[in-house]
Symmetry: C2
Subunit: 413 residues, 2 copies
């Protein structure tokens, strides 16, 4: 059986994601599609719109056969860290290829870029360091260093590493290269990037960001239903009726603010990514600002990207320290969140070859990174549920992996 | 001008407290009554029913001339620590006497007890240690040690140190003795201790605990109005209309639970009073229990009094660590929360003699203990206000001391 891997967040899953999973299967001729998916906190440093189990159901209903959780430590890291975790897990899960969406949509330029950077590694690293020292954000420093080594090269086509999906795809390839993976890299052109609608096989495509913004504005589920599969619509409806609200920073802010004031600048310094005095800005803003928006307006500065600040805030909320991070340098397990029947066959057939343990029950395995995933789930549930009376904790212990036949046929309509 | 000191919590202020302040003035012939009052977290390890500014208004309307804040570090300590802070401040404020309510109501037995323990200090200390080692709670160990040194003594009358107010009064006298204070100790018989009503000058007396329980049950403000002065009733009504809820552990529990799960057992160990493995009990209970009541049912054991556990929880909520506590061994300032006109005259006349700085504006003084008071206020405001939209922080910086003529004449009716 042949497996192709994809890296996803599904926040929430929309028509563009269905297309990506379909194409990944088709282009690579795969029997199963394996997704490595972030848990309840995401790469941009945000709480997920709905939790990881709901998003796993969306995935299984939309062309994915197996969902593994990307551990918190990688899911909330910058692009290279995120890629290292995700690609490491896809490789460990026996995928023969991985497929990412990109603005370029052609794999050759990525290979050329990778080769070029590999050949000029010392110059590249020095240029990155210099750009960071000049005050550029890390993503901008990478792009500047990249451009500097392109200068004067023969005119082979190279990837445009100023585009967000190209950047992420490039980091996947770099991560695969660094672990000596035999997986083939495949890319498809990303549809519907940005906030503009496009038409594709009569399916409307909007970005997940656009869909969330509509929700937090005044749009109803019906108004965004053209952009999401029926299973997503039903799962979001169920979530809304049970939990009354979706995850975003504004609703998590009272807890974030509380813990910033409680810990104070000196303990905030222990938190991962918090450094260089920003703990004082964060503390002062929490003292005075009643909303997340006004808080961010006070914290942000030229020096830090919005995403970088949000990642710090995620770590503050979950109590993820610099020391904790050092205990989880590499992916150490394959945490199964769900599978279709076909996915189950694949796992039965392949799991003995996996270099990492396959975790179906959290209680059966002990690992600092897995503990952190459980903590992150509990904090998500408590924070989202505050005031609504629904704040179930310990779901990681209670939930078995989601099975295709475990949830109503409605979700597969 | 002659000042008499009292130690209060006013949670909330009721008719029994008015009687105490009146008697303190009368029995000692004082010109002014000075109260040292806990801030927003109290000696039994609980959030206050209403905040310290509202309780200061109650005090000034009910026979108290000056209110100083007992710093968090002492206000949430065990009886000896609480007494050390409170009596230290009354002494620093130039009181010539302090007056406490007790079950005994006669000062001679207290002096006898103090002398007896002083004469048998080594035996007493050894007996306390042994009783603690046998597994008794600290208050029970003190009582057992006390009884052991009474055995075989000449039959002078001694205080009954199994009664809660006698115990606290005894610790006040011990604290005054230990700092060599020249203050006279005075006691009056406590009226209306326990939950039973008593009639006194046509004023009904109920305990503050009873009044709070009525509120959190189904009683209305009108139903308890017989037990509280009119000023208290009006201030509670104002609080209720502005904040919608009163402080208690049940409403603070979502934040407590969140921070227990976030910090985990290893970081809970850094918190003041948390030791001997109870951090694991606390963590497990927070993982599973949705209400404060069910949480406490799971945490409590023979080894720990309810109050001792609640003090740990208060420190967990406010982030008060063992290390922080070592930086604030003695009262270092007199923080003025409010004063009547007569109180103001006293301070103008006396403040130059005070051995500690008099703080009217928090921003003008820097001290770790004062920082902790500010943090505790902010955490109280944020936690109480969550979900109600009213969670003003920084009140310690915004509030000037309450003046008699600063609040409506209504409160003095």
């Amino acid at each position: 059986m042949k497996a192709t891997g994809i890296v996803v967040e599904y926040n929430p899953l929309h028509n563009g994601h269905v297309y990506h999973a379909q194409q990944a299967r088709k282009v690579t001729g795969a029997d199963v599609v394996i997704a490595v998916m972030s848990g309840n906190f995401l790469q941009r440093g945000e709480p997920a719109f709905v939790d990881k189990w709901t998003r796993t159901k969306m995935a299984l209903a939309s062309g994915v056969d197996i969902v593994f959780e990307l551990p918190y430590r990688f899911a909330t890291g910058n692009a290279p860290v995120f890629a290292q975790g995700a690609v490491g897990l896809l490789d460990a899960a026996g995928c023969s290829a991985f497929c990412f969406g990109s603005e370029d949509g052609d794999i050759a330029p990525f290979h050329n870029s990778l080769q070029l950077i590999d050949h000029h590694a010392a110059d590249y690293d020095a240029a990155v360091k210099q750009a960071v020292a000049e005050g550029l954000s890390y993503p901008m420093a990478l792009n500047k260093a990249y451009k500097s080594i392109l200068t004067g090269q023969a005119a082979v086509p190279v990837a445009d590493l100023s585009m967000p999906n190209n950047i992420l795809g490039f980091h996947y390839m770099e991560a695969a290269h660094s672990i000596g993976s035999s997986m083939d890299a495949v890319t498809i052109k990303r549809m519907g990037a940005g906030y503009h609608d496009e038409t594709l096989d009569n399916q409307k495509i909007a970005s997940a960001t656009g869909i969330r913004k509509s929700y937090f504005g005044s749009a109803t589920l019906d108004e965004v239903s053209a952009f999401i599969p029926e299973a997503t619509r039903i799962l979001l409806l169920e979530w809304q009726s049970e939990r009354t609200r979706f995850g975003n920073w504004e609703s998590f802010y009272p807890f974030l603010r509380f813990v910033i004031l409680r810990d104070g600048p000196s303990r905030l310094c222990d938190i991962a990514d918090v450094s260089e005095g920003i703990e004082n800005r964060i503390f002062r803003a929490a003292q005075s600002q009643p909303s997340f928006q006004s808080f961010m307006d006070e914290v942000k500065s030229k020096r830090y990207t919005w995403t970088r600040i949000q990642r710090m805030l995620t770590h503050i909320l979950t109590g993820f320290t610099k020391i904790m991070r050092t205990t989880m340098e590499k992916p150490a397990y394959l945490r199964l969140l769900g599978m279709t029947n076909k996915g189950r066959s694949y796992l039965s057939y392949k799991k003995k070859e996996f270099p990492l343990p396959l975790i179906s029950k959290v209680a059966s395995f002990s690992d600092p990174s897995l503990d952190m995933d459980v903590t992150a789930s509990d904090i998500y549930a408590l924070t989202l549920g505050a005031g609504t009376g629904d704040s179930k904790t310990g779901l990681d212990y209670l939930h078995s992996p989601i099975m295709e036949d475990h949830f109503g046929s409605n979700a597969f309509k």
